[in-house]
């Protein structure tokens, strides 16, 4: 399945058919620091994602200047 990561913007392929929690763990992402978005909807880390899904992992941390 395709995963879009941000800051910097990039896309990676990971194995699907498992919980979001497992995907985040494989990518080394702390679940409390990101929104996970599938088809325009937020999903929790317990949600199962399919091989055909495309998800975005969007960081929530800010600390610079705008």
């Amino acid at each position: 399945m395709k995963v879009r990561l941000r800051n910097p913007d990039r896309e990676v392929e990971v194995v699907g058919d498992r919980a979001v929690r497992a995907v985040l763990n494989e990518l080394g992402v702390n679940p409390d620091t990101v929104l996970v978005i599938r088809a325009g909807e937020l999903i929790t880390r317990e949600t199962r994602v399919d091989e055909a899904d495309e998800i975005e992992i969007r960081p929530v941390i800010s600390g610079g200047a705008a």
Binding site: T44, E46, S62, G63, G64, A66
Partner: protein, 327 residues
């Protein structure tokens, strides 16, 4: 995973509350937390003219959205920092939000109105880029509020911002900063009242709120943020939070409840008037005028006054208020 309130499927989990919520219940709980913060610290009155520091990030736009829905008289203030495409995008989303909500937005531009931009300031001045950015924001927002007749300045600082700042101040035992780290600072000698109505809500929650409300916000990081001290403190807090959910809230909210009263006597700053701009300061010239003069290669005072500037520049501690992040 089910919503704690209605048992519908959840879209967001808030681990420190051991809870998850569906969209509608989360939006309700979020707004209630903002109302609770406002009430707890007597932050805002419906008759107040509120100036909201808007960056285009999730926090300030989420706060703007909530305050407008609650019926407050809120005007946004966007400060253009001149950070290339990042600032361009930040300005665009701020203006788009204001237009969409029929809200007033004041735009000030550092280069146009004060003669420098942040990338230049970071190269020419002795302060770190983030330090001079925070200083510029605090100065411009206070001055704009005074000149515009606003009663209060609101910023989008969230629980993570406040916990990270408190951690930094505590690690260095900056007791005067610690004494002033309240979500509501009263008006004092030319300093407009300042409030942080999101202090009870985490960064995850403000991001989720903005997303669920369909708010277009700047997701990208500031390109100048590399090495930012506060981000390192946030990383440290998040590492602890991962294994002990609720630690950030216990740290900051516990400080407000039990720690802050112990530091009250440390807040002894006496304010006077800057000889250059008339804004409040603790010295002859305010930090903003001194920094700006240094950036522009101008001189405010005889050479011996540079010693005080050098002493201040050696202090790299995070100030108690950073109008940074997405605030």
């Amino acid at each position: 995973m089910k919503c704690r309130r209605c048992r519908d499927p959840a879209v967001i989990e808030v681990r420190r509350h051991n809870a998850a919520y569906c969209k509608e219940c989360f939006l309700h709980v979020f707004r209630e937390q903002v109302k609770r913060a406002i009430s707890q610290y007597d932050m805002l009155a419906t008759t107040d003219r509120i100036l909201l520091a808007v960056s285009g990030g999730k926090d300030s736009l989420a706060l703007w959205d909530v305050l407008l829905d609650l019926g407050y008289d809120v005007t946004g203030l966007y400060l253009g920092l001149g950070i290339g495409a990042y600032s361009t995008r930040s300005g665009e989303v701020s203006k788009a939000f204001a237009a969409d909500r029929g809200a007033e937005l004041i735009v000030i531009d550092l280069e146009r109105d004060y003669g420098y931009d942040i990338p230049t300031a970071g190269k020419r001045g002795s302060r770190s880029t983030c330090a001079v950015c925070g200083l510029s924001k605090r100065y411009v927002f206070n001055r704009a509020a005074l000149e515009g007749g606003f009663d209060v300045i609101a910023t989008g600082h969230n629980l993570d911002d406040e916990a990270a700042t408190l951690l930094g101040n505590t690690l260095r035992w900056q007791t005067e900063y610690i004494a002033r780290q309240s979500p509501a600072l009263t008006e004092k000698d030319g300093m407009v009242k300042k409030v942080k109505p999101l202090f009870r809500l985490s960064e995850l929650e403000t991001a989720a709120f903005a997303f669920l409300r369909g708010i277009d916000y700047v997701v990208e990081e500031c390109p100048l943020v590399a090495g930012n001290t506060q981000l390192r403190y946030k990383d440290a807090m998040n590492a602890i939070e991962a294994s002990s959910p609720g630690t950030k809230a216990q740290f900051f909210l516990g400080y407000l409840d039990r720690g802050l009263p112990l530091f009250r006597s440390e807040d002894s700053a006496v304010l006077t008037v800057c000889e250059n701009c008339g804004q409040p300061t603790t010295g002859r010239f305010c930090a903003f005028c001194r920094a700006r003069a240094q950036i522009l290669g101008e001189r405010l005072a005889p050479p011996d006054d540079d010693a005080s500037v050098a002493a201040e520049l050696a202090d790299e501690v995070m100030p108690v208020e950073i109008f940074g992040g997405s605030a």
